[in-house]
């Protein structure tokens, strides 16, 4: 399954090569044209119609890179993207694309003091132990400053419809956009699947892609935080995994284009596709970067709700994925028929 391959692929911001190669191989015979731009974004064009639509999903994932190597052979990390220190100690990681196994060392419970137990370990005190005895042994493995480090987490089914993996933010978006390109034809449109780089460090790739493509409208498809979990009041869940694709009432950095936002809702209602609102503001997606290109590009975020994003084990519900694919397809049909123009 493509989502499984995408989740298992590795790509911190700036090192999206594995993901890009996988997507290119998957899509090259299914689209009319496919290329990589100067920034590293993979663009897949399908159709040659008069209306240009950009479907954006970012390829990169949060992770780490090697900061330095100690004399004793420990690897010290730098974060790449937003990560919570509290979810890191004891976590297994892969170093470099060769996936050399390591663990973010955590003191055994027996050895921690009462005071230490009540506090999160600071990131400055974390290190990766890969079983080497000195710096030379580490370097002999090809591990050097700047090399990427990933959560060691492999895709699996927790139930028939709920899957677990790393990097669902935003490989689930890459999967959704790929499926829209592969499963549907919209001859009235020029659809650009834009698989962008460096989203997690400032929406960088999407800005360049949108500037170059200059679409009439854009949807940014992402995996977003969901918190319908134990101990959270129903009003505070932000989004609910299993309740369908997510529309943003307001992002931290930008507001959705009102026309696209309303049309997505009408489409969902008419086609009886479930949808929900993200009941919080804050955060931002590639739509933020896209909307501000050139003289402004009508843009809207549409997300798949995922639990535990930016950790080693995110969950998502395949029903939400299917509904997102269907909602985009139905929306594109309306744009194609001229029922909706931004």
């Amino acid at each position: 399954m493509l989502l499984e391959k995408l989740s298992n692929a590795c790509g911190i911001p700036g090192r999206e090569d594995e993901v890009r190669a996988l997507l290119k191989e998957t899509l090259k015979d299914q689209v009319d044209e496919i290329w990589t731009d100067a920034m590293g974004n993979l663009i897949a064009r399908k159709g040659n119609g008069p209306i240009k639509v950009m479907l954006d999903a970012h390829m990169d994932e949060v992770g780490f890179c090697v900061g330095s190597i100690s004399e004793e052979g420990y690897v010290l990390l730098k974060k790449v993207g937003g990560l919570d220190d509290r979810v890191l100690p004891g976590r297994q990681v892969w170093l470099t694309e060769k996936r050399i196994p390591g663990v973010i060392g955590a003191k055994a419970w027996h050895l921690t003091t009462a005071d230490e137990k009540s506090r999160a370990i600071s990131f400055d005190n974390m290190y990766v132990d890969i079983g080497c005895r000195n710096r030379a042994e580490v370097e002999a493995l090809g591990i050097e400053p700047g090399e990427p480090v990933y959560f060691a987490s492999t895709f699996e089914h927790y139930s028939d419809r709920v899957v677990k993996g790393k990097a669902f933010d935003d490989r689930v978006g890459c999967y959704v956009v790929s499926r829209v390109l592969m499963e549907f034809d919209h001859p009235g449109l020029t659809i650009y699947g834009a698989f962008t780089c460096q989203e997690e460090v400032g929406l960088r790739g999407a800005r360049v892609a949108a500037y170059n493509l200059n679409p009439d409208l854009a949807l940014a498809i992402d995996g977003t935080a969901s918190s319908n979990v134990a101990g959270v009041e129903p009003m505070d869940t932000v989004t609910n995994m299993g309740d369908g694709p997510v529309l943003y009432l307001a992002e931290g950095a930008i507001l959705s284009h009102e026309g696209i936002f309303n049309e997505l809702i009408r489409t969902a209602q008419d086609e009886t596709i479930p949808y929900q609102f993200k009941r919080a503001t804050g955060g931002g997606t590639d739509a933020t970067g896209i909307a501000l290109q050139r003289g402004g590009i009508p843009s809207c975020s549409l997300s798949v709700p995922c639990r535990y994003i930016h950790t080693a084990a995110a969950l998502c519900n395949l029903d939400d994925v299917d509904a997102t694919v269907n909602l985009i397809h139905q929306f594109l049909r309306r744009v194609e028929k001229g029922d909706f123009r931004p």
Partner: protein, 335 residues
């Protein structure tokens, strides 16, 4: 001093338009500026662009004022029908408590906070809007999740002082209209941009400047005055005239253009204050649009920003308009 500034402020502060929902403001401004320009259009971002033709040899000058106000968005409704909120733009919880608001549908309500023991417990996520509904279903019949509200408008005049919500930046819009009306002879092509998303980002002004490709730009906005207890230590006071911004959190003034502003103010005996402030302004995105736009900021001093009782001095508005008109009489040639 004509009475038009006050009349325009009354109209402009009465129209509903938080960030992202500026259409009604744009429609009103379109009607108000139409007699003074040759072309009015809305760009792809939603900015209202009005163009006054120039003559050969003139420059293309962009005047920018954002037309949105802060507000709040409905993000949750309780079983009892109380609407929970998130801020749009710089709305602070203390400024919202006890205020009456109006939703896009025209429904009104009052904002309150869950009971707390101490003031430091006040936070935005515990604010709610009561529209008189008794159940979640009833509330959602009147207000949908994603709908926006802003303060109910109410303008008061105290001599030269005007008190109303939304003066940031409807006051700037009024100044642009004053300039448009009194601009008689100028070689320059003058483009008035009333922009979206000024309170969130700011955003719209960058798209406007990209589309217009001006030779230079003036941003007209409001700035917090420093003449209050424990105010930021800025040397700007109400009634002291327009303020020329030299720096903020995202902008350094263009040396050449701000030099022209200072010399024109001096030559014309227009009082000018010098402002160095924090935060961000539309100048940040305007000056960096396209290949770059030399940009100056003329700010109107304002007290109590982001509250239902923002206060300005009419003389500062006339001073700002006068300064811009005198500037547009110049060749505006940058060294």
């Amino acid at each position: 001093m004509s009475g038009k500034m006050l009349e325009r402020l009354q109209r402009l502060t009465s129209v509903w338009g938080p960030s992202g929902r500026e259409q009604k403001v744009a429609a009103m401004l379109s009607e108000m500026i139409a007699p003074f320009v040759q072309e009015v259009r809305t760009d792809r971002y939603g900015n209202l662009i009005a163009r006054r033709e120039g003559v050969a040899g003139g420059k293309r000058v962009l005047l920018v004022a954002h037309m949105d106000t802060p507000g709040a968005v409905a993000i949750n409704v309780s079983d009892k029908g109380l609407i929970y909120l998130a801020p749009i733009g710089g709305l602070k919880p203390f400024a919202a408590i006890g205020q009456r608001v109006v939703w896009g549908s025209g429904i009104t309500g009052v904002i309150q906070h869950e009971p707390v023991e101490e003031a430091k417990e006040v936070e935005f996520k515990r604010l709610f809007c009561d529209i008189g509904a008794t159940s979640r279903e009833e509330a959602l019949e009147n207000v949908s999740l994603g709908d926006l509200c802003t303060f109910v408008t109410d303008l008061q005049q105290l001599e030269d002082l005007i008190v109303a919500p939304g003066l940031d930046n409807r006051a700037g819009c009024a100044v642009l209209l004053e300039v448009a009306e009194h601009l008689v002879e100028t070689d320059h092509e003058v483009i008035f941009a009333f922009t979206c998303h000024g309170e969130v980002g700011p955003r719209g002004a960058g798209a406007a400047a990209y589309g217009v490709e001006p030779d230079l730009a003036f941003v007209v906005d409001t700035t917090p005055s420093g003449d209050l207890p424990r105010a930021p230590r800025v040397a700007v006071r109400l009634g002291g005239g327009p303020a020329l911004k030299l720096k903020d959190g995202g902008y350094m003034a263009h040396q050449g253009l701000s030099g022209i502003v200072r010399s024109v103010a001096e030559a014309q005996s227009i009082p000018l204050q010098i402002e160095i402030s924090g935060g961000q302004s539309e100048a940040q995105v305007v000056s960096a649009a396209g290949q770059g736009v030399p940009t100056a900021v003329v700010d109107i001093p304002l007290r109590y920003r982001g509250t239902a009782g923002e206060m300005i001095n009419l003389r500062d508005l006339y001073g700002s308009a006068d300064l811009l008109l005198k500037l547009l009489d110049q060749s505006l040639t940058l060294m």
